[in-house]
């Protein structure tokens, strides 16, 4: 095996095995800190030894064994095997809750612990990327534009709270499961969105590392909870969005709106997979299972990605789906997107009236002003459009979006 192949093999093993190693050590030692450090040491040992010794036939088992030894060494070293340490161990159930019907996997416990509602959202994101995703602290710090020491502290504080307050290492009961899965999906969706619409003047407009990581983790959860419709919905939504990634930013770093995207540049494989998942959920919906918000959002994106061009898009279908979504989620951002569908179906004037009704709730949201600017431009109301573009540019945080809005504004007559 040459150096490049070996490097690839180690990256692949890291992707496939990191969460499993951390999860199994957390269960054995009842301590996230010990598990994280030992897993990191085991991977470092692999990087040292595999070039000479070759990749072992079962790399996962090799890593778990090595990490176990490292953890025991550390515990011996720190002489932590006293009663106090035992008392501080995390609590977990040996029996998975019966009605779950999913494989019992330590990784699932790990995900639910990292996404526990008693932790702040920012802590959940960081902890999930570190413990489940295997990203390093510097990588996560870069992703969220904070210093390494601030990110390190955030993760340390979260781990300390898990230990001190005894946040359990457990798959929630069937009764709590839907709400807790929703919480996990919210974390993954935030990671994806931060990658998809990266904010900050010095970041790339699309952070493929974050979108890819969010998709990878959602796939993992899909494997663990194959019957959960919202997990399938979120995965489909991510895939259908990711499929358009390269078409969404021009060569000059400008955002390209849906209507102007080169549909030939979309990733057909991702779209096919997304459509397959949406069809699976539509079949479930036809059988009487009410879809949640991610499934509806995925279906909307399936409609977009099925059309040959913007005009060919089935806007009445999109509007019907947004109507369904508004009933589940009364957020003004959903209402704004619904208004965009209204504008495509009934014209910019009707759309603008619907958008204007959201002013008191969305005045600080760049997309509200960008949408108004576009509709006003289409109505020939250049002066008002210019003012709306100004406001949108002032509020937008994404470099590609700012570039696009600026060009549009400067093209106004």
């Amino acid at each position: 095996m040459n150096v490049a192949d070996l490097e690839q093999a180690i990256i692949r093993v890291h992707h496939e095995e990191w969460a499993r190693v951390v999860a199994s050590l957390t269960r054995r030692f009842g301590d996230l800190d010990v598990a994280e450090e030992a897993a990191a040491e085991a991977f470092a040992t692999a990087v040292e030894r595999w070039p000479a010794e070759g990749v072992p036939p079962n790399p996962g088992a090799w890593l778990t064994t090595t990490a176990n030894r490292k953890a025991i060494d550390r515990i011996r070293r720190e002489n932590k095997r006293d009663d106090k340490h035992k008392e501080a161990q995390m609590v977990y159930d040996d029996d998975p809750p019966e009605p779950l019907g999913a494989v019992d996997d330590d990784r699932l416990r790990l995900i639910f612990t990292c996404c526990h509602p008693a932790l702040a959202m920012q802590a959940r994101l960081a902890l999930t990327l570190r413990m489940v995703g295997g990203l390093t602290v510097p990588e996560i710090a870069r992703a969220f534009l904070v210093t390494e020491s601030a990110m390190g502290q955030r993760i340390t504080r979260a781990k300390a709270k898990i230990k001190a307050a005894r946040i359990p290492y457990r798959v929630p009961s069937a009764e709590d499961l839907p709400a807790r899965v929703t919480g996990v999906l919210a974390v993954l969706f935030l990671v994806f969105n931060e990658g998809y619409l990266a904010t900050g003047p010095d970041t790339d407009p699309v952070r493929h590392d974050l979108t890819a990581e969010a998709i990878r983790l959602t796939r993992l959860i899909r494997g663990l909870l194959p019957d959960d419709g919202e997990v399938a919905g979120l995965l489909a939504l991510m895939l259908l969005t990711e499929a358009r990634r390269t078409a969404r930013v021009s060569g000059s770093g400008e955002l390209v709106p849906l209507a102007e995207q080169d549909r030939g540049a979309w990733d057909a494989t991702l779209i096919a997979e997304g459509h397959r998942l949406v069809r699976e959920r539509l079949a479930a919906a036809a059988a009487g299972v009410a879809p949640g918000r991610y499934q509806i959002l995925a279906t909307i994106n399936a409609v977009y990605t099925s059309a040959r061009d913007m005009r060919d898009t089935d806007w009445s279908q999109v509007l019907a789906l947004y109507d369904q979504l508004v009933r589940l989620d009364p957020s003004p951002i959903i209402a704004l997107n619904r208004a965009i569908a209204v504008a495509e179906l009934d014209g910019p004037e009707v759309g603008l009236a619907a958008v204007d009704r959201l002013e008191h709730r969305l005045a600080a949201y760049h997309a509200y002003h960008a949408t108004r600017a576009d509709l006003l431009r289409r109505l020939g109301r250049s002066q008002q459009s210019r003012a709306a573009y100004d406001k949108a540019i002032e509020l937008a945080g994404n470099t590609a979006e700012t570039a696009y809005l600026t060009r549009r504004r400067d093209q106004l007559r």
Binding site: V91, A118, A165, I167, P168, R170
Partner: protein
């Protein structure tokens, strides 16, 4: 594992008879299910006295240590195997006493 459940008072007026009755029902449940350690309601913060005996002489001051619109009105100490159980109980406690609640583990 023990947790302190603090009842945070942030509205006018004391507990109503309905709230008192609901608290009684909740307390009985805690006792029946083995989660009960201790609980109590506190008199208003105006009745508090501060003592500071870190120096040469003990200083006695009238009033609560912090003037605030939100104050501790009472507490439970419960026994629970983990935070999920403690949070589930605290959720019911908040409903019973009709107040905001803080859950904090003992060391």
């Amino acid at each position: 594992m023990q947790y302190l459940i603090s009842v945070i008072h942030d509205q006018a007026g004391l507990a109503t008879p309905e709230e008192d009755a609901a608290i009684d029902v909740f307390n009985e449940r805690l006792q029946a299910e083995g989660n009960w350690v201790f609980a109590g309601g506190l008199a208003s913060p105006d009745t508090a006295t501060i003592i500071d005996n870190r120096g040469e002489e003990a200083l006695v001051t009238d009033g609560p240590f912090i003037e605030s619109k939100e104050y501790l009105a009472g507490f439970w100490i419960i026994e629970a195997p983990d935070l999920d159980v403690a949070l589930a109980l605290a959720t019911e406690g908040s409903k019973a006493c009709n107040r905001k609640i803080e859950v904090r583990p003992f060391q």
